[in-house]
C-alpha cells in the first residue's frame, strides 16, 4: 500500500495549496472546414467542433471527480481563422460568432484561434481579420484572439506592430462598459507556439494533428509551500526543491492528459509545464519569489530569482511527462497574481521591471492595466520592445496590456474570475515613439551566432 505521508502530501497540495489542473484544451484543426462561402465554412466549423468536443466538459468533470483533482477550465483551440477567411472573404466576425456558438454548445470556458500569423507579412484575410478583432471580442464572450507579429527566423513585422497598437486601443474602447475586457482576450506574440493550451494565446497550429488534447498545469502555491518548509537553505537547494515539486505537479498533468485522451479517443499532445497563478491567496508566483527572500516582487534581485524558478520548473517537469510543449515556464500575469497585484499597487513593481523579467520566463507583459490615455503608438512600442526580447533570445514573448479607458494611474479594473483585477500601472509617455512606429516596415531577423 502507498505510504501514508505520500497520500497526505497529495491531499494537502490539493486542499490547502491550490494544486489544480488549469486546463484541458482540445486542439481542433479547421483546415477541412475551409470554404469559398463564409457562411458554409461557419456551419462546418460549428459541426466539427461540437462533434469532437461535445464530450470534453463531461469527460473533464468525470476525471475531476474520480481523481479528486480540480480541473479549472476546459477549452478549445482552433486553426487560425485568418486561414479560413483568406479563402472565403466576407465578414470575419461571422467566424467569431460561429466559434461563440460552438463554445456555448460544448460548454467550454474559452475558445481560442481568432488569430493571424503575420510575422513576415500579411496574406489574404490577415489584415481583415486583425481589423475585425475589436468588434469580434466585443460581440462574443468566450472567444480569444492572438496575432503573431514576429519570430527569431523572420524578424518583426513592424507594419503589424503599428496596426496592433491601434487594435489593442480600439478593443479597449469598444468594451469600455465591461472594464475593457476585450483586451484581456487579445495577445500579441513573438515566436508563438502551435500547441499552447493557455488562453488568450491558444491556437491550433497547422503542424498539429487533426484533433489533440493538451494539458496545462498550475501549482505556484505548492512550490511556495515547499520552499517555506526550508527557510535557511542555499539557492541550489531551493532549486532542487522546486524541481522535485514541479515533477510531482507535472505527473498530475500527464495522468489527467492521458486519461482524457483515452476517454475522448483523441491523441495526447503535450503537458505545458507552466506555473500559472490565480488571484487567490496562496496561488501566486510573486509570493514564491518573496519566499525565496525578496522583500517584495519587483525589487532588485527579482529577475535572478525568477530565472532560477523558471529553469528549475522545466528541469523538474521534463522527466515527468512523455511530451512537454506549449509555453512551459512561470507566468507573470499581473492582474491574475495576488502578489503581483500588491507589488504593482505599492509601486514596487513597474512595467520596465516586468519587461526585464520576461527575458527569463514565460511569457511576456501579461494582463497589465495601463492608463486609458496611452497613445496607440506607445502600445505599439511596448509590443515592439517585448517582441525584440523574444526574437533575440529565441523564446516566446507576448503582450497583453489593457488600456483602462477613462482611468488614470492608481485606479483599478476588475475583470473577475481567473482574470482577476489590476491597478492601472504607470507608462512612460514623456516623449513619443510615434516617428519610430510610423516608419513601419520590418526589423530583420537577428544573427544566430556571435552571441553576446
Amino acid at each position: 500500500m502507498l505510504n501514508l505521508n505520500d497520500i497526505m502530501e497529495t491531499i494537502n497540495m490539493i486542499q490547502s495549496e491550490n494544486l489544480d489542473i488549469r486546463t484541458i484544451t482540445m486542439g481542433i484543426s479547421l483546415l477541412d472546414c475551409i470554404d469559398s462561402d463564409a457562411e458554409k465554412a461557419c456551419e462546418k466549423i460549428y459541426n466539427k467542433i461540437t462533434r469532437l468536443a461535445g464530450n470534453l466538459v463531461k469527460v473533464g468533470e468525470d476525471i475531476e471527480r474520480e481523481y479528486g483533482i480540480p480541473i479549472i477550465n476546459k477549452r478549445i483551440s482552433v486553426t487560425p481563422i485568418s486561414m479560413l477567411l483568406g479563402a472565403s472573404g466576407g465578414n470575419p466576425v461571422l467566424y467569431a460568432k460561429a466559434l461563440q456558438r460552438a463554445a456555448d454548445a460544448t460548454g467550454v470556458n474559452f475558445i481560442g484561434g481568432y488569430s493571424a500569423l503575420v510575422h513576415k507579412g500579411f496574406s489574404a484575410g490577415d489584415v481583415e481579420l486583425i481589423k475585425s478583432i475589436p468588434e469580434a471580442l466585443s460581440v462574443t464572450t468566450n472567444v480569444c484572439s492572438s496575432v503573431n507579429i514576429g519570430s527569431t527566423k523572420a524578424g518583426i513585422n513592424m507594419d503589424a506592430v503599428k496596426l496592433m497598437g491601434e487594435v489593442v486601443r480600439e478593443a479597449a474602447e469598444v468594451t469600455q462598459d465591461r472594464d475593457c475586457i476585450g483586451c484581456a482576450k487579445l495577445v500579441v506574440f513573438c515566436n508563438a507556439v502551435e500547441d499552447n493550451p493557455f488562453m488568450a494565446g491558444a491556437f491550433h497550429g497547422v503542424g498539429e494533428p487533426d484533433c489533440v488534447i493538451h494539458v496545462g498545469v498550475s501549482g505556484p502555491g505548492v512550490v511556495q509551500a515547499a520552499i517555506k518548509k526550508c527557510p535557511d537553505v542555499t539557492l541550489d537547494e531551493i532549486a532542487e526543491i522546486i524541481k522535485k515539486t514541479a515533477f510531482k505537479i507535472t505527473r498530475m498533468g500527464q495522468l489527467v492528459g492521458t486519461e482524457a485522451s483515452t476517454r475522448l479517443g483523441v491523441p495526447f499532445g503535450i503537458v505545458d509545464l507552466s506555473l500559472a497563478p490565480t488571484p487567490a491567496v496562496g496561488d501566486s508566483v510573486a509570493h514564491i519569489l518573496e519566499e525565496m527572500g525578496l522583500g517584495r516582487c519587483g525589487i532588485h534581485g527579482t529577475t535572478a530569482a525568477l530565472a532560477m524558478l523558471n529553469d528549475a520548473v522545466k528541469k523538474g517537469g521534463v522527466m515527468a511527462s512523455s511530451s512537454v510543449g506549449g509555453l512551459s515556464g512561470a507566468f507573470i500575469p499581473v492582474s491574475e497574481d495576488a502578489g503581483m497585484i500588491t507589488a504593482a499597487r505599492s509601486g514596487d513593481l513597474v512595467i520596465e521591471k516586468l519587461e526585464a523579467m520576461t527575458a527569463v520566463c514565460s511569457v511576456g507583459l501579461d494582463m497589465i492595466v495601463i492608463p486609458g490615455d496611452t497613445p496607440a503608438e506607445t502600445i505599439s512600442a511596448i509590443i515592439a520592445d517585448e517582441a525584440a526580447i523574444g526574437m533575440v533570445n529565441s523564446k516566446t514573448t507576448a503582450v497583453r496590456v489593457i488600456p483602462a479607458i477613462g482611468k488614470k494611474s492608481g485606479e483599478e479594473l476588475e475583470f473577475g474570475g481567473l482574470l482577476g483585477s489590476g491597478p492601472v500601472m504607470n507608462v512612460n509617455t514623456n516623449f513619443s515613439p510615434k516617428k519610430f512606429i510610423d516608419r513601419a516596415g520590418r526589423i530583420p531577423a537577428p544573427m544566430q551566432s556571435l552571441k553576446n
Partner: protein, 89 residues
C-alpha cells in the same frame, strides 16, 4: 479500479465502522486500512476495490462526502493512480 478513501479530522468513536458501512452498502471491497495521528489530526486511509460497486462512482463518492459532513471530518474518494503517478517513478 482501486480507490483511496482518506478520512481526516478529529478522532471520534466509530469512524471506521461508519466508513466501512458505506463501503458495504455500495459493495466496495476494503483491501487495506491504515491510520495514524499526523499534525494533531486523525488520519485514516482505506484502499478499496470498487470494480463491483452497485452504484455509480459519483454516488459512492457523494455518500462518503455526506458521511464526512455528518461526522465533521473530511472524507475524499480518489483514484489510486493519482498517488501512484505522483510518488512513484
Amino acid at each position: 479500479m482501486r480507490t483511496i478513501i482518506s478520512v481526516i479530522g478529529k478522532d471520534t468513536v466509530g469512524i471506521i465502522s461508519k466508513v466501512s458501512a458505506v463501503c458495504t452498502e455500495c459493495n466496495a471491497n476494503i483491501v487495506d486500512i491504515t491510520q495514524s495521528v499526523l499534525q494533531d489530526m486523525f488520519v485514516m486511509v482505506m484502499l478499496t476495490e470498487i470494480s463491483a460497486l452497485n452504484c455509480s462512482f459519483g454516488e459512492f463518492s457523494d455518500k462518503m462526502k455526506a458521511l464526512g459532513e455528518e461526522i465533521n471530518t473530511d472524507i475524499r474518494v480518489m483514484h489510486e493512480d493519482i498517488f501512484n503517478s505522483m510518488h512513484r517513478i
